[in-house]
């Protein structure tokens, strides 16, 4: 009887801990201080997907990637998060679309380094939860 009581208490405690973890664990974020899995120019990343999307998806999706590129456009998504469109040249085609975790002062025409989680390719290679790294 004592054992059953103890087991019941343990189950309840585990249940409460599981509930608290599910309820209050923070979402996944990109940390500027942590090294990226890959670092490359915007064009190299775009070309990797363009050349072989299946292979590039396996290699890069879900990974933290740091890309360098020129800002073509600064906009906001429907959640209010700032988005950046990057290219390899000031007059180049869009190559990278990045959504930032927090607002940045990056301007159109500026060369920036953005680190974020690669989620795949649509019109451009997409980075989510991005941070703009300062030199």
């Amino acid at each position: 009887m004592k054992l059953i009581g103890r087991l019941l208490q343990l189950i309840i405690v585990i249940g409460i801990v599981a509930f608290l973890v599910l309820k209050f664990m923070p979402s996944h974020t990109t940390k500027a201080s942590e090294p990226a899995d890959f670092a490359m120019e915007a064009k190299a990343l775009f070309q990797a997907f363009e050349f072989n999307e299946t292979q590039a998806s396996k290699q890069y999706i879900g990974k933290s990637i740091q890309v360098d590129g020129f800002v073509l456009e600064v906009d906001r998504d429907q959640n209010g998060s700032q988005t950046l469109l990057l290219s390899d040249r000031l007059d180049g085609d869009p190559l990278i679309f990045a959504t930032l975790q927090a607002d940045n002062t990056a301007q159109v025409g500026e060369k920036v380094t953005v680190k974020g989680q690669c989620t795949g390719m649509l019109f451009e290679v997409v980075l989510n939860k991005g941070v703009v790294l300062k030199d």
């Binding site: 933290s64 988005t83 997409v126 989510n128």
Partner: protein
């Protein structure tokens, strides 16, 4: 001969200009898709703000495409698990919708106002395809940009629910150990797009 070539060149330029001026292509890079699947244990409640879409106002063709890994889960624990670099989404990395507005005549894309549209199409995720039909709201703004919203329920066959839950357990089992985690038969999908004319 030279005069003919000149005429042909001028005609080509004129045609190109006319097509560009009267083009009714719209695009959006920051569309929003929200999905909700309720189970007895927990809700799978996720948002994707990186959905790209195209709308051809002259033909009524509408499409959107998004990436599975761009979904952000409302539950922090699920989000951490799903966004782990080790969770493999190959085979399901993209979802896509290709549809057709059936009441195009009822919408004037050059006149600001609120319109109701009817759309039918096919939603795809990996090799899973589902034909859907639904209504939506379309707002033509003063600057002739467009906002479109719609929602639909997908009811998944039981064998596909079991298949999807099996895949989820295989790919997420290192991070989640609830035996009853999974999706329900009904998934509610809300979409919203802010289009700009190309």
């Amino acid at each position: 001969m030279l005069t003919c070539k000149k005429c042909l060149g001028t005609l080509c330029v004129l045609l190109f200009t006319l097509v560009t001026l009267f083009s009714q292509d719209y695009s959006c890079r920051t569309g929003h898709v929200h999905i909700l699947s309720s189970t007895t244990l927990m809700d799978v409640d996720a948002d994707n703000y990186q959905v790209q879409s195209r709308l051809d106002a002259s033909t009524g063709e509408v499409s959107f495409v998004g990436l599975s890994k761009s979904f952000e889960m409302k539950s922090g624990a699920l989000d951490q698990a799903f966004n782990s670099k080790y969770v493999d989404v190959s085979g399901f990395s993209k979802f896509q919708y290709n549809g057709q507005i059936s009441n195009l005549d009822a919408i004037d894309f050059n006149t600001p106002g609120n319109y109701v549209f009817k759309v039918s199409g096919i939603l795809s995720l990996g090799d899973y395809k589902r034909r859907t039909s639904t209504n939506g709201k379309l707002i033509v703004n003063e600057d002739l940009s467009i906002e479109a919203t719609s929602d639909f329920d997908i009811i998944i066959e039981q064998e596909n629910v079991e298949r999807i839950n099996r895949i989820l357990k295989e790919r997420l089992s290192n991070y989640l150990s609830f035996s009853s985690f999974g999706i329900s038969r009904t998934i509610t999908i809300d979409v919203a797009f802010d289009y700009k004319r190309k």
